[in-house]
């Protein structure tokens, strides 16, 4: 006998499709060919499967009370009337904790746009003070530092010229946030003109118009997201 019964026992009970690797399955077959005791375990499991298998198409449990579906729908209708259903393309992507962080990041961006527009009269130090004020308002709950720290770490040292707004947002969110790309794809889709603006050059009148129009919409979305975030389960 190649293997003893103890070492094969767990495999015996993992007898349904996809539970064992082909090698493990071969090991079980080879062992059982020579071991009547384990063959009888397999036969017992086959009996169990014959009883349980037909139940798979049915709900395996007691019937729910007849009133339950009505109670559920009454609660859902109440929920719907008490709270308008969010219809933003962003809400599907954002866990609750990200929303305040996004609000801070976007507020920071608004500061950045403002300073960029009047950069002749402003300084990086002033921008950093503004960003720090935003960051103090709400610290990023995830690891990786506060919002202003993360914003600054995404900036080339001492130079605000090589930043695209969406790239800057990307720098705020950790790569481990799995739905990040989906979120930014949606953002870019919803705010295509904003996504195209490059801060490598001085903003022209057209850029300012886009910032005025889409930047506000951006922030309105965020405000709504934060409110919804407060109400999330």
């Amino acid at each position: 006998m190649k293997t003893n019964c103890g070492s094969i026992e767990q495999y015996l009970y993992l007898c349904r499709e996809g539970e064992l690797t082909p090698g493990q399955r071969r090991e079980v077959e080879a062992h059982c060919a020579e071991c009547p005791a384990c063959r009888s375990v397999l036969a017992g499991l086959a009996d169990l499967e014959r009883i349980v298998g037909p139940l798979r198409t049915l709900p395996a449990g007691p019937e729910p009370p007849r009133t339950l579906a009505g109670n559920i729908m009454a609660a859902v209708v109440h929920e719907s009337s008490a709270r308008p259903k969010p219809a933003t393309i962003l809400s599907g992507y954002l866990p609750g904790w990200v929303r305040p962080a996004l609000a801070c990041a976007l507020t920071g961006l608004a500061c950045l746009f403002l300073v960029q527009e009047y950069r002749d009269a402003s300084s990086i130090a002033a921008l950093e003070q503004q960003l720090a004020a935003v960051g103090r308002a709400a610290e990023q709950p995830a690891a990786g530092g506060s919002i202003p720290e993360r914003l600054r770490s995404g900036l080339p040292p001492g130079d605000l010229s090589a930043i695209n707004p969406l790239d800057l947002l990307r720098s705020v969110f950790p790569p481990s946030y799995g739905k990040r790309e989906g979120l930014f794809d949606e953002l870019a889709k919803k705010y295509p003109d904003l996504a195209r603006i490059s801060l490598k050059r001085k903003l022209d009148a057209g850029d300012r118009k886009v910032l005025a129009a889409e930047g506000q919409a951006f922030l309105r979305d965020v405000q709504r997201l934060v409110q919804e975030g407060d109400q999330q389960p």
Binding site: Q10, Y13, L14, C15, R16, G18, E19, V41, G44, L45, D47, L48, I51, V52, P54, L55, R56, P59, A60, G61, P62, E63, P64, P65, L68, A69, N71, I72, M73, A75, V76, V77, E79, S80, S81, K85, P86, S91, G92, Y93, Q232, P233
Partner: protein
């Protein structure tokens, strides 16, 4: 809120899409379609009809709230089962926090018994073999009970069970193995009683 009076399409994907857009009629169809399965799963976890009804209602409210987050990819049943199990766990935690005196369910009472199948009379009262096995399954320890229900009764894959139950696939396999071993022994005892 859009609440169409009827819709002819009963394809779950269509119902989900309509419900995501706020169609209460479509959501009602989803409730009716999945409620028995959600109820059976919650009952398997909680073991008490009143607690189960509360958890199922909470589950569907949470499903409604979060439908916008559901992305086709994982099976819809995996997604709603995950929410259901979380609601059941929340209910258990809430009850524990309140220190409420509740019936913890037959299975929990029997957790202290070395072998829940040591008393075949518990099972002998039921005539049908299927019912006896389901009854025996309800006596399994909680983790084994949940894993057996999801894998062998709901036909979820090991990976889906792991996601729903919040366990690693290895832990799922271990619990599955133990559950089947106990149930096979229960079956042997039942057959011995008949002979």
């Amino acid at each position: 809120m859009n609440d169409s009076t009827s819709h002819t399409r009963e394809d779950p994907a269509d119902l989900i899409r309509l419900a995501r857009d706020g169609d209460l009629s479509a959501f009602r169809s989803l409730v009716i379609r999945y409620q028995p399965y959600v109820y059976a799963l919650a009952f398997r976890v909680l073991g008490d009809p009143d607690d189960t009804a509360d958890a199922v209602q909470d589950s569907f409210i949470r499903i409604w709230r979060n439908l916008a987050r559901y992305r086709p990819g994982p099976k819809f049943t995996t997604w709603i089962y995950t929410i259901t199990v979380n609601c059941c766990y929340d209910k258990q935690k809430m009850d524990a926090r309140r220190n409420r005196v509740v019936d913890p369910g037959l299975a929990d009472r029997l957790d202290d018994v070395p072998s829940p199948f040591s008393d075949p009379s518990l099972l002998a009262e039921q005539s049908d073999l299927k019912e006896k096995i389901l009854s025996a399954a309800s006596l399994l320890p909680p983790a084994e009970r949940l894993v057996f229900h999801l894998r062998d009764l709901c036909d979820c894959t090991v990976e889906e069970v792991a996601e729903i139950a919040g366990m690693s696939p290895g832990t799922v396999r271990t619990n599955l193995c133990l559950a089947r071993k106990r149930l096979r022994l229960a079956l042997v005892r039942l057959e011995d009683q008949h002979t």
